[in-house]
């Protein structure tokens, strides 16, 4: 009886595995089908002149544009050079913004007086539409790299700061009390209890804030620069080159997805202690 029941259970498990695999395959097929339908209808509508190719471009032309940029070069020089410049600006702004956001978030979260004094100013600063700061940064720092890094920084900083601050505030009071009873001093509580506890919040903010870093770099280049992907877009816009704008957009999307992948990998590495999400399958 028991072995029969076991066999039945094993069969159930095997069937469930097949079910999961089939489901994954189905999702993949549907994803590809979605892309084919979207791009295909865009291509067809554009070729049949149902939509004006001058304004809406054409996927095949966009692909060709990227190919030309990659092999021959862009109006600003080699494509890789433009990608590298934009990435450098975004990554520098991202790194400095994340660092400062964590430090300020921890400091204000832990030191009540500091939060009370600086709180209103930070809220006020956060309410400024930060993209307009781009103009000021270009006046202050010129057309080169520093003005783009500054813009990326202010965009990243507030996102990370507010998350780190909230993360510190959300730490269970009893967990802190427990650490203090165990002999932790204030610094140990901050570094060994509050920071790891707030880490889930901080890392959650990295996903959105890298996107902001890229926005900062590209908008900065857009407002005033002589190279980078943002300048490429501005140039394409100036010459009514719709396909060029789309091509640069596509490259930016690929970069953003790559960064997202890396941040997820970092998240899994840093937060190994988190329960893994189990996909439950009904037998």
């Amino acid at each position: 009886m028991a072995s029969l029941a076991h066999a039945a259970l094993d069969e159930g498990v095997a069937a469930a595995r097949i079910k999961v695999r089939r489901h994954k395959q189905l999702v993949m097929v549907l994803r590809i089908a979605f892309a084919v339908v979207m791009l295909g209808s865009w291509e067809i509508l554009s070729r049949t002149k149902t939509i004006d190719p001058f304004f809406f471009g054409r996927p095949s032309e966009i692909g060709h544009k990227i190919w030309v940029w990659a092999t021959v070069g862009t109006p600003d020089g080699p494509l890789w050079e433009q990608v590298r410049i934009t990435m450098e600006e975004a990554l520098l702004g991202f790194g400095i913004g994340v660092g400062a956001g964590i430090v300020f978030g921890l400091a204000l979260g832990r030191i009540r007086l500091l939060a009370e004094v600086l709180g209103p100013y930070i809220k006020a600063a956060n309410s400024i539409p930060r993209v307009v700061l781009g103009s000021i940064f270009i006046i202050w720092l010129g057309l080169g790299l520093p003005s783009k890094v500054a813009l990326a920084f202010v965009l990243v900083f507030f996102v990370v700061f507010f998350n780190a601050f909230q993360g510190v505030r959300e730490v269970n009071e009893d967990v802190i009390a427990n650490a203090r009873i165990l002999g932790a001093n204030r610094r140990q509580v901050t570094t060994q209890v509050v920071l790891p506890s707030a880490l889930t919040w901080i890392i959650a903010s990295l996903h959105t804030s890298f996107g902001f870093a890229l926005v900062g770099a590209v908008v900065g280049e857009f407002i005033g620069s002589i190279h980078g992907l943002g300048h490429l877009i501005a140039f394409a816009q100036g010459t009514f080159d719709t396909n060029g704008v789309f091509a640069a957009m596509f490259i930016l999307a690929v970069i953003a997805l790559g960064a997202e992948f890396l941040i997820t990998a970092l998240e899994n590495r840093l937060i190994t202690w988190r329960p893994s999400r189990r996909d439950e399958v009904a037998l």
Partner: protein
């Protein structure tokens, strides 16, 4: 062998040494967000002798846990005196263990990291801390789980980890705030027996807060009954049951039943009062 340990560690009340814990007319008042003053604890006096196991029972919201935060130094008393080992409490005690009601394990630390945390905070070298942690992990029966994280452990295992974490610093005072209330009945009885065994090999004075009278009698040398909030002492009972005790069996002892009846007689009115209040407050 267990008998030998337990007779050795008993300190006769009033043996001349200053009590381990003394609360004299202690009160705790909080200011509520609406600006009112809420009195959690009122004129509370209790002394716990060295090596003694005292339970505090009382209805929900009577300020049982507040007494622990006063003794631990986590919160100052609003009035009265609180002394530990003869010294007034002004900061968190160094020789103190505290087992919290909720789950306060660090989710990012493995069992090894959790148990050794107290020693590491106090500056013990990593290797030595881990060695001693390994002993304590074995003592609470978790050998082989050193690398597990809290979310991979059952409720009972998490409590064992918390016990080992508190006991590794060899506290003179052990405060426990309804530590087993979240466990199922079977696990709970096992943990109570285990606690008594672990305690018998230490010289710690224990204050154990619970709302469960059976648990209080089974574990303690004395049981302190509190009134419904604002809490104060209603009565203190000596539990003259012999040690070593087995929690799972002692409940059938005739003396246990007698004690339970006596204390419940006293506690019942407070529980009913607290229940009526809770009902009228919606």
């Amino acid at each position: 062998m267990e008998t030998a340990i337990s007779s050795e560690r008993v300190t006769a009340p009033g043996s001349g040494a200053t009590p381990a814990i003394e609360l004299v007319g202690a009160a705790k008042r909080f200011r509520t967000p609406s600006g009112d003053v809420y009195t959690a604890l009122h004129d509370f006096s209790l002394s716990v002798h060295r090596g003694e196991f005292v339970s505090i029972v009382g209805p929900t919201g009577c300020g049982k846990s507040t007494t622990l935060s006063l003794i631990s130094g986590l919160a100052p008393a609003s009035a009265g005196e609180v002394r530990v080992m003869g010294e007034p409490v002004t900061a968190i005690g160094k020789q103190l263990g505290y087992v919290f009601q909720g789950d306060v394990l660090f989710p990012w630390k493995s069992v090894m990291g959790t148990v050794s945390a107290g020693l590491r905070f106090r500056g013990v070298a990593k290797r030595e801390a881990q060695e001693r942690a390994r002993e304590w992990i074995a003592k609470v029966g978790l050998s082989g789980f050193e690398d597990h994280y809290p979310h991979q452990l059952s409720g009972g295992m998490r409590k064992r980890t918390a016990l080992a974490q508190s006991l590794i610093t060899s506290p003179e005072i052990l405060l426990m705030d309804e530590p087993f209330s979240a466990l199922d009945v079977q696990t709970r009885t096992l943990m109570e027996d285990e606690l008594l065994e672990l305690w018998s090999s230490t010289s710690a004075s224990v204050v154990f807060v619970t709302h469960d009278l059976e648990e209080a009698i089974a574990l303690s040398d004395r049981v302190c009954v509190m009134t419904a909030g604002p809490g104060t002492v209603k009565g203190i009972y000596d539990i003259d049951l012999p040690r070593p005790r087995h929690v799972s069996e002692i409940r059938f002892d005739t003396r246990f039943v007698e004690l339970y009846r006596d204390i419940w007689e006293n506690l019942r009115d407070e529980v009913l009062l607290s229940y009526e209040r809770a009902k009228s407050n919606g």
